[in-house]
Amino acid sequence: MKRAGFTTTWLPILLLVPQLLIIAVFFYWPAVHALQSSFYLQDPFGFGSTYVGLENYTDLAQSSEYLKITRFTVVFTLLVTFFSLALALLLAVKADTVIRGARTYRTLLMWVYAVAPPVAGFIGLLMFNQSWGPLTDIARAIGWDFKLGVNFNDTATAMVIVSVWKQVPVNFIFFLSGLQSIPKSVREAALIDNRSASGRFWDVTFPLLAPTGFFLLIINITYALFDTFGIIDTLVKGEPGNNPMTLVYKVYVDGFRGNDLGGSSAQSVVLMVLVLALTVFQFRLVERRIHYT
């Protein structure tokens, strides 16, 4: 393979600078700032701060509310990840066999990808509207009195549904291209070796999609943990108090609504460690196992 390279050293550095600057300004600087303020107790009115050591962290560990939100976040993440992946895989497998109008079908499925999270949340609000939301109507038809923003479980359900809906297209695109990169002849060989379509899927297609699936697993966990903020914010707007929320939303609520910058910073640091762990886990596993060719 031919390798393209730079002849001078300053040009690549120059080209990297904007990216590095953005990362520094919008990630490293706030991160350091968060780490620092997590050791302080901030005055709610902005008049200085007191050093309190690890108190913000011990408070977190002892807070039953924080524990409850952690538990909810875990369940929420599992549900969103599972359903986003499973639905996308199902759609991709079906789309892969469509021959006529395949492009239209795929484009329609991908469109949702372009919807921004708050907009997705807003669409969710409309769909689950108490008096005329179509999804509320459907729920009512099966005897479920759906109350978004009032009933904890109902709100949680809506959060999961909207988050899944928003994430399915991304997974779909990856699964579909993963499917299409499986050599046609390998599938044909399977066709001769195994008469059962579901057998072929689980024995051949699914294992060959594993690298894609694993990559998406990490992406989806990250999404459910962090990028659902906009959706949650829109769905529970007004009264986060009685409603389900995730750890990230709690950071925002405590920091900007409760003005507890120290506690909120401590929570951010916890989340940063989580992301770090996920990333390390991903790289380890990707390098080690799931790799064919």
């Binding site: 044909e188 060989a189 001769i192 195994n194 294992p207 064919y292």
Partner: protein, 346 residues
């Protein structure tokens, strides 16, 4: 094990392209049939229709007198070897070979013994626990073969199985595949665009051109009595010489007055002469001008002009050759006559 019969099999792809025009032939039990032809002539299409990987647009395909047009590929009792081997990349060699058996409800210990047997036959015993990515091209090819033989099918289908191997390995595998097929006696259809493979392996060759059968015959028939100028120039390296000639007075005449060989009839013809069916003598009747001498070790090719038309002669290494004028004679009964309009043999 199986006889196969194709009755007016036709293939029109979804885009309206007719890749195979209605085609009929029968394959006898245990026969090794080679489908040969230039790229895009419909060889793979035909084979894939037999395998069930491609729908048959029209016609009837029977294996052992059972019509299988709409039978699932897995139920046709066939095994196929693909050009790129199509091994399952995530399975070990053992699993690759055994996968087809596993799905046919064969007990595990039986699978293991069959896999071992196939592996032994193909010298793969040491590689059973490797993944395909850890094998060389030749070994992958053997695994693909193993996957086919282990099932003990009624029919083997090969789609250019050797074209990804280097020349030496190709030569070796050619002999091995043929020997294996002889030993197992499994009816086989083998697709290739390599006429040497076709000549050396086939019991019977089917030459395809643009979705049509040009000729069916044993390698000797195809070589010595090509049914058309297409077959004459496709089979053989270097190909048969084809020159314009004329029949008159019971002779084949070129250039107005040189008599080449006796033949009945009148009018213009295309004359086909194999390069090796020519002898060089000082007192021979025909003038030949050698332009280039191609040294090939065991023999030489003399490229030149015969009556102002390109002509190639194949001579043994013991025949001295230099560029310049020489005289040649055509061996008796070595002329093929073709209709210059249609290219069909006369």
């Amino acid at each position: 094990m199986a006889q196969v019969s194709l009755n007016n099999i036709r293939k029109i792809y979804a885009n309206g392209y007719e890749a195979v025009t209605p085609t009929s032939f029968d394959i006898a039990d245990g026969e090794f049939v080679v489908l040969v032809g230039p790229s895009g002539c419909g060889k793979s299409t035909l084979l894939r229709m037999v395998a069930g990987l491609e729908d048959i647009t029209e016609g009837v395909l029977s294996i052992n007198d059972r019509q299988v047009n709409h039978v699932d590929p897995a139920d046709r009792d066939i095994a196929m070897v693909f050009q790129n081997y199509a091994l399952y990349p995530h399975m070990t060699v053992r699993k690759n070979i055994g996968y087809g058996l596993k799905n046919r409800k064969i007990p595990a210990d039986m699978i293991e013994s069959k896999v071992q047997e196939a592996a032994k036959m193909l010298n793969l015993t040491d590689y059973l626990d490797r993944k395909p990515s850890q094998l060389s091209g030749g070994q992958r090819q053997r695994v693909a073969m193993g996957r086919a033989v282990v099932r003990d099918p009624a029919l083997f289908l090969f789609d250019e199985p050797l074209s990804n191997l280097d020349a030496k390995l190709r030569h070796q595998m050619r002999i091995e595949i043929k020997a294996l097929q002889r030993r197992l006696g499994v009816t086989s259809i083998y697709v290739t665009h390599d006429q040497v493979e076709a000549m050396t392996m086939a019991d019977r060759i089917i030459v395809l051109n643009e979705g049509r059968i040009e000729q069916i015959g044993t390698p000797a028939e195809i070589y010595h009595a090509p049914a058309s100028t297409f077959v004459a120039s496709f089979m053989g390296a270097p190909p048969m010489n084809l020159i314009d000639a004329r029949l008159a007075d019971g002779q084949i005449m070129i250039n107005g007055n040189t008599a080449l060989a006796p033949a009945q009839g009148t009018g213009a013809i295309t004359l086909g002469i194999r390069p090796e069916d020519v002898e060089i003598h000082d007192d021979a009747p025909i003038h030949f001008h050698v332009d280039i001498v191609e040294e090939l070790g065991a023999h030489r090719l003399l490229h030149g002009q015969l009556a102002d038309q390109d002509f190639t002669i194949h001579v043994g290494k013991d025949v001295a050759a230099t560029p310049g004028a020489t005289r040649i004679a055509i061996k008796p009964d070595c002329c093929c006559l073709f209709d210059p309009e249609t290219g069909k043999a006369l």
